[in-house]
């Protein structure tokens, strides 16, 4: 693979001494990617029932948009083992040009911008699911998500608590309203200890 670096603007012609490449000793592994090719997918399931003992944590990286008309955005929800939203609480610090914070019940981890933002704009999210296979603790989820579109812009730092000690066997990401838009991408990674 090709990499290069611009020379310093100084006149001593000193270039960068070190450039390193290659696979790093990484403890993150790709499990599954779903790339949505239509406008009629309301949710995507990830079966993680075989990963207890393999991974310590899980990570989702997503780029999402929705199919609801209008401005603003709808929620992207996370559900574990089919359990409803009443088993979760949620805290967030956010900005859409002015800072706010909120706290409520729910399982909200990202957003689907509505169609006024067009088909080229996606909200990005990095969602960390900590200790999902530990039967001695509730599960904590943290996410950083946001996007700066023409009709909707936001940046959010968020945590969700799932009040269950059950080992996670299934993760569902779902559109709060209508569907995920075509081009939505949902990727799941496992992280070893």
């Amino acid at each position: 693979m090709i990499k290069s670096a611009s020379q310093s603007s100084l006149t001593n012609n000193i270039k960068y001494r070190s450039m390193a490449a290659g696979v790093v000793p990484s403890n993150e592994y790709l499990i599954q990617t779903s790339l949505i090719q239509n406008n009629t997918t309301a949710f995507v399931d990830f079966d993680v029932s075989s990963f207890a003992g393999v991974y310590k944590h899980l990570k989702l990286v997503t780029a999402t948009r929705g199919t609801s008309s209008g401005t603003a955005a709808d929620e992207v929800l996370i559900t574990f083992n089919g359990q409803s939203s009443t088993y979760y609480t949620h805290r967030m610090a956010s900005s859409s040009g002015s800072v706010s914070s909120s706290a409520f019940s729910g399982n909200y981890v990202s957003q689907n911008p509505r169609t006024s933002s067009g088909t080229l704009f996606f909200v990005g999210a990095e969602i960390d699911i900590l200790d999902p296979f530990n039967p001695n603790k509730n599960t904590t989820v943290r996410s950083l998500f946001g996007g700066s579109g023409s009709s909707h812009n936001t940046i959010v730092f968020n945590s969700v608590g799932w009040f269950s000690t059950a080992i996670i066997t299934n993760i569902r990401l779902s559109a709060e309203a209508n569907y995920f838009g075509q081009g939505t991408r949902l990727s799941l990674y496992g992280v070893t200890a």
Binding site: S4, A5, S8, I14, M19, L30, T33, G124, S148, G149
Partner: protein, 163 residues
């Protein structure tokens, strides 16, 4: 067998103070790019920024930003458009910056970038979302400052993540 998801593409450690670091010829074989920078400026405090491009850096006002930051106990936020993705402030003591460029090689999307930046010396922490309003694949990434130089010893590492 599960695939390790992250590959190091390049790491640059500055040997002299430099105003810009550019990664070019970035391959299109990954899903996301991750940029990690650690260092400081030579004088006072300034903004760390990035620009993207396809074969050449886009210097037009095609970058959109929404941020929230805390600096020495005060919060601020804004949403705006300019000709950079402005990350936040470093000073001449410390700075860290991480950016995730999602779907960087897709030609059917604008590019969404999530950033975390902070400086213990300056006393700030900031989170940003950016959009590069282009469907071009990214194969060049430039790191610059608003009006300063990165010191010798500052490091800039670029990684590719598969999906």
């Amino acid at each position: 067998m599960a695939l390790q998801s992250i590959t190091a593409l390049a790491t640059v450690t500055l040997q002299v103070a430099t105003s810009e670091v550019t990664f070019s010829g970035i391959p299109n074989t990954y899903r996301d790019l991750i940029l990690v920078a650690s260092g400081k400026f030579t004088s006072s405090n300034s903004l760390i920024r990035i620009r993207l491009g396809n074969n050449s850096v886009d210097t037009a006002s095609n970058y959109y930003t929404t941020y929230a930051s805390g600096t020495n106990g005060s919060i601020s936020s804004e949403s705006y458009n300019e000709n950079y993705m402005t990350g936040g402030r470093w000073d001449n003591v410390s700075g860290m910056y991480t950016a995730q460029l999602l779907d960087y090689s897709s030609t059917d999307k604008h590019k969404t970038v999530l950033v975390r930046v902070g400086s213990a010396g300056y006393g700030s922490a900031q989170m940003n979302s950016h959009r590069w309003a282009s469907t071009s694949a990214v194969n060049i990434l430039q790191v610059i400052s608003s009006d300063n130089t990165f010191t010798s010893g500052s490091t800039f590492s670029l990684y590719g993540r598969i999906a």
